[in-house]
Amino acid sequence: MIFVIAIHEWRSLFLSPLAWSLLAVTQGLLAWMFILLVDDFRNLQGRLVALDHAPGVTDLVVAPLFRVAAWVLLLLVPLLTMRLFSQERRSRTLDLLLSAPVGTPAMVLGKYLGVVTFFINAVGLITLMPLSLAMGAPLDLGKLLAGALGLTLLVAAATAAGLYLSTLTTQPTVAAVTTLGLLLALWIVDAASTAQGISSDLLSYLSLRRHYDSFLLGLFDSSDLAYYFLFSLAFLGLAMRRLDDLRLRD
């Protein structure tokens, strides 16, 4: 049942021009970024030869590209998650799901998987660009894959948060704005921990960016994995609770 809902969600994304335009815009922006990075790398190449342990093309092109990609995708997540429940509540199509023999977990997970699948497609397309460098340069495939995985996990976690916020309101735009706020706040929350007078391990642990950065360095740490996993799980659980609660309140 989860997959029926996931496929429906994924397909309806592509039935509207929204998904296509999002993919096109992301790809266009990041392609421009990619060209600039490759150009920089070519200019630097001469000086890099002289260095011991010089950073390679993966560190100088792939990591910065993925850092920008994370920004762009985080800005796009609210646009896709805002529809999930608030739009359905608004147009009263949620009744179809609520009256069908489908449990709340299946409903939430199905929608979640649908959007995450879309983002996996997007990450796949983004990864293709640095992958093309492998034709002419020694590429650290491990680091590239770690980066792609990190980006997917980051976006999946953001999607879970957006999905929860979209159950809270019947106005998609409100869901989008709150999601955007939450995600940006979590992105910069560790800036406070480096500021003077505030030292907090908790804040830096909460930061979405901290955990993503270690993936970009090629570090595959189970604690980062656990962070994204727990983050998603917490918001999905909240969404399920909220939907059950709606049956009592609405």
Partner: protein
């Protein structure tokens, strides 16, 4: 024959003490009823009587504050997924995705109700024929007219062959011809299933339902079967006269208790049951220019009007 009889007596829905509050107000207040196979049960009541809330609880969209709902022997609150398998629901506004085609919508709904790919395809083909949707199966729902959308909604509700069909104002917003088609479809479906519908339209309930429950401010006020109503003798006679005599003369007709002058030669004669002054009217038919003589069977209407008046008085 005995088996069939047994089938028809099968209880499909059993509701007891259903209550739901909205703040201090009891939107649905301690409602109990039973639906058997082959029955079409209509909830009739003025706007805001709590009909929609009641129906939404019956299909598990809303949770009740108190009470029990048994669908086909399964407790809806304990085992919602199992109980919902035999339910088909059409809300007041059909839950349709504007960006899907009719085929895609029906397919999705069938899959949600546990049909596999093949079965859902077959079911969709069958129901499209029955609801007259074959011609529009590739059209986007967003571009369909209201009547067609309503039909897609109904098709979606009965696609998986549910034993119990719950419909909230199924013909609202349709033109008379469309309403008639939808009603025919519902009564056809109701023959081998159980149907629950709500309406504020009297004629709809009268032509469609086998049983009627009157609802007012969250409570059931009266249960009637339409067969009972029709068996009751009429106590009103509507007449139309070309050259009406003075009112006093009409009042002197045998059995007449009260006369309403409806204007333009039309009158409503109230009389005792089984004592209609038909014979005496026909005797004078020539002099008075009798052009219409209709006994009025409208107990349901009377009940309904009383109900609404009472509601207004309470408010």
């Amino acid at each position: 024959m005995r088996v069939e009889k047994h089938m028809m007596d099968e209880v499909l829905v059993q509701v007891e003490g259903l209550t739901r509050c909205h703040g201090e107000v009891r939107v649905v207040d301690d409602i109990s009823f039973t639906l058997r196979r082959g029955q079409i049960l209509g909830f009739l009541g003025p706007n805001g009587a709590g009909k929609s809330t009641l129906l939404r609880m019956l299909v598990g969209v809303l949770a009740p504050d108190a009470g029990q709902i048994i669908i086909n022997g399964v407790d809806l609150l304990d085992q919602p997924i199992r109980a919902k398998q035999v339910l088909g629901y059409l809300p007041e506004q059909p839950p349709l995705y504007r960006e899907l085609t009719v085929d895609e919508q029906l397919h999705y709904s069938a899959r949600l109700h546990g049909l596999n790919r093949r079965a859902s395809h077959q079911a969709a083909t069958r129901i499209k024929q029955r609801c007259g949707l074959t011609d529009v199966s590739r059209r986007l729902i967003g571009y369909l007219s209201k009547g067609y959308r309503q039909r897609v909604g109904i098709a979606q509700a009965v696609l998986h062959d549910p034993a119990v069909i719950v419909q909230d104002e199924p013909t609202v917003g349709l033109d008379p011809l469309q309403s008639r088609q939808i009603r025919e479809l519902i009564s056809e479906l109701g023959q081998e299933r159980g149907v629950i519908l709500s309406s504020h339209l009297l004629t709809e309930v009268q032509t469609l339902c086998t049983h009627v429950q009157m609802m007012r401010m969250g409570r059931l006020t009266q249960t009637v079967t339409l067969a009972d109503l029709e068996r009751q003798p009429s106590t009103r006679l509507r007449i139309g006269l070309h050259t009406p005599p003075p009112l006093a003369l009409l009042e002197r007709l045998p059995g007449v208790e009260q006369i309403d002058d409806l204007g333009q030669g039309y009158f409503c004669l109230h009389h005792a049951a089984n004592a209609a002054p038909t014979a005496s009217l026909i005797q004078r038919a020539g002099d008075w220019g009798l052009q219409e003589l209709t006994p009025e069977h409208s107990h349901l209407e009377q009940l309904f009007v009383d109900l609404i008046l009472k509601t207004e008085m309470d408010q």
